[in-house]
Amino acid sequence: MLLRNLKLYKVKSGLAPVVQICRLSSSIPLEDFPVGTVSEKQVKPERKSIVPSNCRYVYPEFLPDPKMQWRNPLREKLERMDMIQRRKHIDIPEFYVGTIMAVTSSNQHAPNKATRFVGICIQRLGCGLRANFTLRNVIKHIGTEMKYQLYDPTIQKIEVLRLEKRLDDELLYLRDAPNEYSTFDENMEAEYLPEGSPIPVNTTMVKLKPRPWRARWERKNMKGLADLELPERFYKRAEELATPWEKYDLMKQYRRTIPEEEQKEIFAEVYSELHEVNVMRKKQKRKKVFIKPFKN
């Protein structure tokens, strides 16, 4: 069922899974931001900002926790400096919930002192150095999840195997879905997406197993769930408890997010260095000679 869905999706989006090294963290076409002129542009404030508008989606962890009581501009700045230092040693690519990823991390107890875990990203949480993400896969018929700290120095490599989004911001319902929805081949090869193309959205509708579930999914207003096949009373209760007016609560929205002006300030401070790191990495990658793998 799932496989068929995936195949359909591939045909629809017209993407042939080409074997290639994984995508870089910047999704910005290079023509728009020539390397040499970065510093010149920064000096003159009248010019248009060089920071692309999608930064808050690509680097969400650079935005601080919006909770007012915990904020301090100096700490946030130091945290950002540490994050950039770490990013110089590891390529943290652009990824979203629903992206299929592989993480190689140092492990003292593993035979080669390193483990590689492939899975679908089902959750992305935290700001600053606390940022983390959860990968899920089914290994030997057992659903397995690994939570990684994004800036953990024991992480050796983060690869994006298939860059895509799902319909929801959290895919925790995959825990209550049949295993085939979260089964991914460990030897899966990275799929290439041309630079600058929009992030594809996987519209797979997940069919859950019958209740009991880990949460009352009918109340969560999930878009990626197929018909739940529940008795009428469940939906009635969900309707009673729904809070549809909250999307009009501007103050709540304001308190939950970082204002746009502040976001611009933060990314203006961080972007030039991030971009420099990306360009350096690209140059290094080009230098590496591609050797065609051969069969024994």
């Binding site: 301090n72 100096l74 140092s106 700290q149 120095p153 024991t154």
Partner: protein, 376 residues
């Protein structure tokens, strides 16, 4: 009768030499003895600080003139070590403190620092373990005044030990320079005497006379070294009147099984018979927080000399984010200094290269990824 008695005791006892009745009456007085009456004596820096806000009705020009006068006297506003403050000209006077170049001994007590708690974030050790750290920002600290042991009379002394801490002097330390217009004249006078600008926060540290410092000496984060242990004193978060579950961590009572209206109650507080009363000190609901507490023996993991920031291990320091805390050398016997710390304090070194210094076991973000070697 009582009136007559009173009269005899207080007014006639001496001239009339009446002893018997007065003694009998005095024995009747019931009070807890051995309790010192409260003394209304405050230290010299206990002054009204904030001025009542009044609109001075000054013109723009006059306002500018006042500002200029302040800048002329103390220095121009500047951002130093990440805080907006004033570029105060050094007010160091020569030989105002007798002790100089004394060798450190473990008996000596150094001064502490005033810092602001910035919040927490995780860092990693070299073995790959993550630790949560608290950031403490040493905010523009200057020595304001030194009071030698003979002159310093602490306002509160233990009743049983009148010689308590008599051999210690007192060092007043101020943090964060501010415009004198916002403070009272008497509070400003405290600083003017030493040629300093008024400070927003004042702290008192008891020190051995050998560790005395001149007024005007800047205190930096390099007063401590990475790997040292400090005590952090601050005011805990004010949580108001709280129940027993939050205040003392009681378990409460079951949610079901016939329990009604007492899910969060403490339960029994006393016994029967002779003990049929509530013992003093019984844990009960009440006001929680907003009192000074000390986080003892916190390890320093990293110090940023550019912004004067200290990272300590753990998240147990009292107070909210952005609250003021006081840092001391730890009193825990096994974590005290074994070799000499910067004594009496660190010297000001203008070294742009040295930004961060780390404890040995800390992972630096500028380092390579942590990998484990295979055992042979």
């Amino acid at each position: 009768m009582s009136i007559i008695c009173k009269y005899t005791i207080f007014y006639l006892s001496k001239p009339l030499n009446i002893t018997t009745s007065s003694e009998a009456m005095l024995n009747q007085v019931r009070s807890v003895h051995n309790v010192r009456p409260p003394r209304m004596k405050y230290p010299l820096w206990y002054l009204q600080r904030e001025r009542a806000k009044d609109d001075q009705q000054l013109t723009e020009d006059n306002r500018a003139f006042v500002k200029e006068a302040v800048h002329d006297k103390f220095g121009m506003p500047a951002v130093i070590h990440g805080i907006s403050t004033y570029d105060v000209r050094s007010a160091l006077r020569e030989k105002s403190v007798e002790y100089e170049n004394v060798e450190w001994s473990p008996k000596f007590q150094r001064t502490g620092l005033i810092a602001r708690k910035l919040g927490n974030y995780p860092m990693w050790l070299n073995n790959g373990k993550s630790v949560l750290t608290t950031l403490l920002h040493v905010i523009d600290n200057h020595v304001i005044k030194y009071i030698p042991p003979g002159e310093f009379d602490p306002p509160r002394k233990p009743y049983s030990c009148p010689n308590h801490k008599k051999n210690l002097g007192c060092l007043l330390v101020g943090a964060e320079s501010a415009d004198p217009q916002y403070f009272t004249k008497q509070y400003c006078g405290l600083f003017y005497k030493e040629g300093m600008m008024p400070k927003k926060h004042l702290g008192r540290f008891l020190i051995s006379p050998e560790a005395a410092l001149q007024p005007g000496t800047p205190l930096m984060a390099s007063h401590f070294n990475p790997g040292d242990f400090i005590d952090v004193r601050g005011k805990t978060i004010d949580r108001g009147f709280q129940g027993v579950m939050k205040r003392h961590g009681f378990h409460g009572m079951p949610a079901t099984h016939g329990v009604t209206k007492s899910h969060r109650r403490g339960g029994n507080v006393g016994h029967g018979g002779e003990k049929g009363r509530i013992f003093p000190g019984t844990k009960m609901p009440g006001h929680m927080g907003n009192r000074y507490r000390i986080h003892k023996g916190a390890e320093i993991l990293r110090i940023n000399h550019k912004f004067n920031i200290i990272w300590i291990k753990g998240v147990a320091s009292p107070g909210e984010t952005n609250s003021i805390v006081y840092l001391y050398d730890t009193l825990l016997p096994l974590r005290k200094y074994k070799s000499s710390p910067p004594f009496p304090t660190s010297k000001v070194v203008e070294d742009d290269q040295l930004i961060d210094s780390y404890s040995e076991k800390m992972y630096k973000f500028t380092n390579q990824t942590i990998t484990y070697e295979e055992e042979k």
